[in-house]
Amino acid sequence: MQNNLEKLQEQKSLFLCLMIVGLGILVATFFGREVVKMVTDFTYIPVAGILVVLSIIISIRFRSTGNHGKAWLLFLGIAISWFIAETIWMIYEFVYHQNPFPSSADAFYLLGYPFLFLFSTQYLKPFKKLISKKMIILTSIIAISVLIPNLYMTLYNNSSESKFAITLGAIYPVADAIVLIPAMIGIVLFFRGEVNFLWTLLLIGILFEVIADTGFQFFTLDNSYYTGHPIDILFIWSYIMFSFGIYNHIQIFKKKTKISDSKNLFDNKLEN
């Protein structure tokens, strides 16, 4: 059976996308802050938009049937709220020429997290009996240890940023750590299964978010963050990871051919 590492290595288009985005932003950096800001903002919009489109496709495919149908509707909620957040961020920068952090964009970024947590719990619900207390404790310990560097940085800083901005910035890694728990559980539960690839990419995507949010907090407190900062690459990469995970899921559960439909009805089998 093909394992996830082999499957991940086969994803040439995934690595190509990650490389193009990463190199694009790094190269744009050499042309000045205005250029890199424009390149980054205009990368966020289609990348977040693709996630919305893929979420719509998979939601239509599952048509809210069963636990997974409901889970994908919740995922659509994540994609839409983050797409709105990215749009607001861009409007603040290019229309109002204001610093978008903190702003109303944060409300939509943060709204994505309860959706992400609810998506995970809804997806894992049919398999809840397999989730042991030990599994929850172990994943929680990992999530907390990921969170510690950020909390340390938030509590011991001499930044001129407002208390509100510092607190808001610290909420993100906390939210990341919370959604990290069901993502890790998902990987363990679906180990060796085809659906595990989605959970692998979701976990990697969330890990990118954790590092990016911690980095964002650090460079904002340091007053050195600007849109197009290399840390933004990780934010975009997490969108790409999520998108490829959903795309893989669409491929796994794509509509079957009509041929076998009637054969699975028991009456027809009796006739044969």
């Binding site: 069963g66 997974h68 049919p126 397999l130 299964g193 079957k256 076998s260």
Partner: protein
């Protein structure tokens, strides 16, 4: 008479598997059906005679969590689980 009972069990097993999978989502059920047909040229009612096919397909799609689906099938089968052939079927898909 025996044949009728066997056919009834076959129908019951097929329906229980379908109901358990539909609770997860219709595409999940369709995927299992498709995989059974593609890999074993087998349809859902045939799983009563070839539970090992269903076992392998569930493992392939859902990995280690296939056991939860087996539990859901057991729940759907309810009291029928006491019957020996059904018990053998359950044991085979649980392996």
């Amino acid at each position: 008479m025996n044949l009728d009972k066997e056919q009834l069990r076959k129908a019951l097993v097929s329906l229980s598997v379908e109901r358990a999978l539909l609770k997860i989502g219709k595409p999940g059920y369709e995927k299992v059906v498709k995989q059974l047909s593609k890999e074993y040229n087998c349809y859902l009612p045939d799983c009563y005679e070839h539970p090992e096919y269903l076992n392998r397909v569930l493992k392939k799609i859902f990995g280690d969590s296939y056991i939860s689906i087996v539990e859901a099938i057991k729940k759907e089968l309810d009291v029928q689980i006491m019957e020996k052939p059904i018990e053998i079927f359950i044991r085979a898909i649980s392996e």
